[in-house]
Amino acid sequence: MSTVLEVQGARHRYGATVALDGVDLAVEAGECVALLGPNGAGKTTLVNLAVGLLPVHEGRVRVAGGDPRIAATRRHLGVMQQSTGFPRTLKVGELVAGAAVRAGMRRSAAGQVMAEVGLTDLASRRAGKLSGGQRQRVALAMALVGDPALLILDEPTGGLDVSARRVFWQTLAQRRERGAGVLLTTHLIEESAAVAERVVVLHEGRVLAADRPDALVARLPERTVIARTNLDAQRLRALPGVVSVDTGSELVRLGTRSPEALLRVLLAEDPDLSDLRVEGARLEEAVMSLTDTATMEVTA
């Protein structure tokens, strides 16, 4: 297996502010790595280093073995930005064909990719008349058309409906089977848990954790008790072993490290308790726990 993205000891500063502080990261061919972290963690800076928009002040960044600051290296790169505004007068077919030529391919490669992402019928539509989801599909087609070794996807499924999202991930899975590596940044953490082999959690410019999603979740001893109850939030917070209370929906979600003890008390206190279930922690909770702990350590 070859490494399509290699970041070693990357440091980057904006003036006196350190945005990345010695980050190591690798994406292998065919692998999907999700880059997670709160706002300001350094995700955008890391992506900008990987696509060659920013210089690395210390360390090393390589895409398919080459320096992404060099245009020729970026032939191996397909980038889907969070929001790309295309020139409104250009047609979908022209945009994708242009991307093919820029990536060193024949214009005819565009037709194949447009069919792959379901854009064939929109080929003659001007970009200014596309919906948000259609624009995302055009961006995906443009990222894929050069048959890149590394795909960098920044919030790629925003604006896509459920069925378009399914097509999106299926398309990506096919590309990964052909050897493309994927670096994904998203705020949809559970989506990344479903598609990524590895998750890298960034916090204040450093890698807090890099592991499989299930391994990260397993680090968290917390469980969630979910139920429909008549008890109010104040009473729920006072129950033994409860570390968090979420009453945001019809069902309450109670975080606890001793679910058995909590269940016994709940059943005793609320005879109308229903829809009861216990879930393990989700990746979102694991990531939040990691970043919260890191913040508390810095504050202390």
């Binding site: 696509v51 060659g52 928009l53 920013l54 245009a71 020729a72 290296t73 970026r74 032939r75 790169l77 980038v79 930005q81 929001s83 790309t84 505004g85 295309f86 020139p87 007068t89 250009l90 022209e94 064909a97 242009g98 991307a99 030529v101 820029r102 990536a103 060193g104 001007r126 443009m142 050069g146």
Partner: protein, 245 residues
């Protein structure tokens, strides 16, 4: 690969302009309209053995070429940057210089169109007395000489939004045009403007154009335009690096 990519970039730019022709009103229709009006009034007045229409073709032609080459690439860069399209180009396998050169190249056919329309207007009023070779030389000089102005437009486009760029570039072009004698001869302007004019690159481009139709020295004007190109290219490079960071 580069020639193929350059071709695609130019084609995309031309498609954009052709499909939204209203954007050309200020850069094409207005200069040609002004020229037609002025040449019909003053075109017959000759000076130094050259008709007013021919001289105005050089001076108004300078304004016409600049209104396209200064404005279009600059506003185009600003628009692309605002949309995120410039960023998409920056992360592609194409050196950005190719994209920017395509923006300038795509503006040139419209600059040629402006000059052609002005030539037709001058001929229609019977005030054109230049040979085809002279006209071709004038066109070539104005096109090549407009390069530093295209770079200036892009330097501003890297920093300001599309609307702001249009306003800034107009605020540069209009006073420069007046103070350089592009609309009216400096001889009929207040003395102070005549003293300011030699400090303006637009003046030197117009003088270079005039030298094609009525003779005269060109070295000083060429040197000033070369120096301007070097300075503006450095500003554009810094501006681009700032925008990229």
């Amino acid at each position: 690969m580069s020639a193929r990519v350059f071709g695609v970039e130019v084609l995309d730019e031309l498609r954009g302009i052709m499909r939204e022709p209203t954007a050309l009103f200020f850069s094409v229709v207005m200069p040609v309209g002004f020229f037609a009006l002025f040449v019909s009034i003053f075109g017959q007045q000759s000076a130094g053995g050259v008709s007013g229409g021919t001289r105005m073709l050089a001076t108004f032609g300078t304004f016409g070429v600049l209104s396209v080459t200064l404005m279009n690439p600059g506003i185009g860069v600003a628009d692309d940057r605002e949309r995120g399209w410039l960023r998409a180009k920056q992360v592609s396998a194409v050196p950005l210089g190719v994209t920017l050169a395509a923006k300038v190249a795509a503006a040139l056919p419209y600059a040629v169109g402006v000059l052609l329309a002005m030539t037709v207007a001058a001929a229609a009023t019977g005030s054109l007395d230049a040979s085809l070779a002279t006209l071709l030389r004038l066109g070539a000089v104005l096109m090549i000489g407009s390069l530093p102005f295209a770079l200036l437009g892009m330097a501003i486009g890297f920093q300001a939004g599309a609307n702001a760029s249009a306003a800034i570039l107009n605020a540069i072009l209009m006073p420069s045009a007046i103070a350089s004698g592009l609309w009216m001869p400096l001889e009929i302007m207040p003395d102070v403007i005549g003293r300011i004019a030699p400090f303006l690159p637009t003046y030197h481009l117009a003088r270079l154009g005039l030298a094609q139709v009525n003779g005269g020295g060109v070295l000083e004007h060429v040197l000033v335009l070369l120096a301007t190109t070097a300075v503006v290219a450095a500003i554009a490079a810094v501006s681009y690096r700032h925008a990229r960071a």
